[in-house]
Subunit: 78 residues, 2 copies
């Protein structure tokens, strides 16, 4: 069974870069990857926050948040 990887972003250039490069480097045979745009899916900001996401872009792997560089604070997306 593939593990779940969720990438939260807000469409910013830093987010796009992280998505293309870091997310693009993940092993897709081992992960089901979901990409969530918190700028357009504002209803999922609370979910991201609960997972420990403080800024975007962020990748949640094994339930742990990994903030990749800094694009925008989650507070600015509420």
């Amino acid at each position: 069974m593939r593990a779940k990887a969720v990438f939260y972003h807000a469409g910013c250039p830093i987010c796009v870069n992280a998505e293309q490069t870091v997310l693009g480097a993940l092993d897709r045979d081992r992960f089901n990857i979901e990409v969530v745009h918190l700028g357009t899916s504002k209803d999922r900001v609370a979910e991201a926050e609960k997972l420990g996401v403080a800024s975007v872009p962020a990748l949640v792997l094994d339930g742990q948040p990994f903030h990749i560089n800094f694009g925008a604070s989650l507070n600015d997306l509420k």
Copy 2:
């Protein structure tokens, strides 16, 4: 030919976690991964800095630095 991925760290708990989880999720069929401990390989701090690494843990993919969470500043490893 595999692309190069370099993971810079300093042995901190945040570094170890990022290494196990994020680095462990990369597609090893597409990347040659090198792990560099800047605490013990201080001669490589200048190289990391030149690549744009400002803190560890950081992953350099396609020549671009991606800082993953925050363990320690590069300045503190000099």
